[in-house]
Symmetry: C2
Subunit: 286 residues, 2 copies
């Protein structure tokens, strides 16, 4: 079984090339692949499959893109979209001649996503519209922070603060607002550091503190744009957002938020048959 490994601002993925849809990786195999010590290691799996061969409902209609990003979380569960993952997915398509740029569309479980390769090799993804849905507050390391509830397809609470972000313990956020959705939200702390520039730390629901989160940077940019008064005025301006894994550019929008960032393929190769055999034996025993 062939694989590749890649990352976007430190959010890393095991890529499974499967153009003709011959693989049907079980949740167990995905979890074993993502295991950082007993497997290849990654935050998730990106299966690269032609849309017409994907055994799933893909909402693309007449426009259905050639490639479907079958994204799975590290625990094996099916996921919809990932702003860092889709850049890595497109980087893989472009690097190995499976698609040509600079503009292309990718099918995902959250619908079609348009991606553009910039002159410097970075990739811009249309992340769809973002909405401010309300307010909320969270307790972080014993202190309360207030923020905005923001939907980027998935739910966020983005809290703008003047405090140095490293002084804030985001390892165990406790939501204080009563109207938080079931399953929790992603929590971002955001500090505006300059003209259209901010830094962000994120706690992802289900994953904990991570180096980067694509939808989280969009939510952070929305919160920053609200602070600047741009959001209320309908002005769409780009923000530079620094995350622990690197730097992204975000233009938040109610219709089509744009996220620009790097993606690179680290390596590619083959899983050994010995490992695959033992992985399936363990699955049977488990």
């Amino acid at each position: 079984m062939r694989f590749a490994k890649g990352h976007g601002t430190g959010n890393d993925f095991v890529i499974l090339p499967d153009p003709d849809g011959q693989l049907d990786p079980s949740a167990d195999l995905v979890a074993r692949l993502c295991d950082r010590r007993f497997g290849v290691g990654g935050d998730g799996v990106l299966r690269v499959v032609r849309t017409k061969a994907a055994r799933t409902e893909v909402d693309g209609g007449q426009e259905a893109p050639e490639w479907f990003m079958d994204y799975r979380n590290a625990d094996g569960s099916v996921a919809e979209m990932c702003g860092n993952g889709v850049r890595v997915f497109v980087r893989y398509l472009l690097d190995y001649g499976l698609a040509s740029g600079p503009e292309l569309a990718v099918a995902t479980r959250a619908g079609l996503r348009r991606v553009r390769e910039e002159a410097d090799g970075q990739l811009t993804v249309d992340m769809g519209g973002a909405q401010v849905t309300g307010e909320g507050s969270v307790e972080l390391g014993g202190q309360r922070l207030d923020g905005l509830a923001i939907s980027v397809g998935n739910p966020h609470l983005a809290c703008v603060t003047d405090r140095p972000l490293r002084e804030i313990d985001i390892s165990a956020p406790r939501l204080l607002a009563a109207d938080s959705p079931a399953g929790g939200v992603n929590v971002e702390i955001v500090r505006i550091t300059g003209e259209q520039e901010a830094e962000m730390r994120v706690h992802e629901r289900g994953s904990g503190v991570t180096l980067s989160c694509g939808t989280g940077t969009v939510a952070a940019a929305v919160a920053a744009a609200v602070s600047a008064g741009d959001w209320q005025a309908g002005r769409e301006r780009p923000w530079t957002v620094h995350v622990p894994g690197g730097t992204l550019a975000v233009t938040p929008s109610v219709t089509a938020s744009l996220l620009t960032g790097p993606a690179e393929i680290v390596a590619r190769g083959e899983l050994t048959s010995a490992w695959l055999t033992r992985a399936s034996e363990r699955a049977v025993m488990a």
Copy 2:
């Protein structure tokens, strides 16, 4: 640049095949390879190089083995030996026809190591002699444990206890004994669970809590053998030692401790030239 990835009881390594000694991986490149999100990911690098091509002093004399295990820690520093690493190293040699079993020797910076492949594919390594060098004590999660100072080439403090190991916080051991060597020791907590059977948790100096530690299991077996009275009587008997990453068999000895355990190669492939180029650019910038 070709690579493979393998592990022994969850202690995982990036393997760099370099038979003719043409690579001279910098500390920076090793650290980037071992980075679990921006690189391949591993606890260390095993460079597979012919002894005569290795640019290092290898103590082998007339008997110098064909292959030298050039072992590096994840931070890029040079290391001497690793009981889990040498099994992975030999598994790689055997799986890819670079050596034939069932018995072979490997050159390491700690000297020659003899390895034997067992009928079930597990590998037995002669880890050299172990010595009880004294006593010591350590504070773990606010409680004091007494143990034995044991040398397995590197220094250990192995503490036998009746308490369930999961109740003991080994994340931040504080040595209470004044005669601990500079650079600290590896700390093991050991519970005897049956006839010649024990479980062990380890805090490795410089690495923290890990899933497994080859020399640590030898030290644990020595401490268990002392508890059983075998060590003092000069009886060498095998112990089954359970660690979080799996199970190992250890026969501790003052002359030639034997460590038996599994090793598997997960995958192999090539690093992309794009990643290697960016890695070297980053190294120049750093």
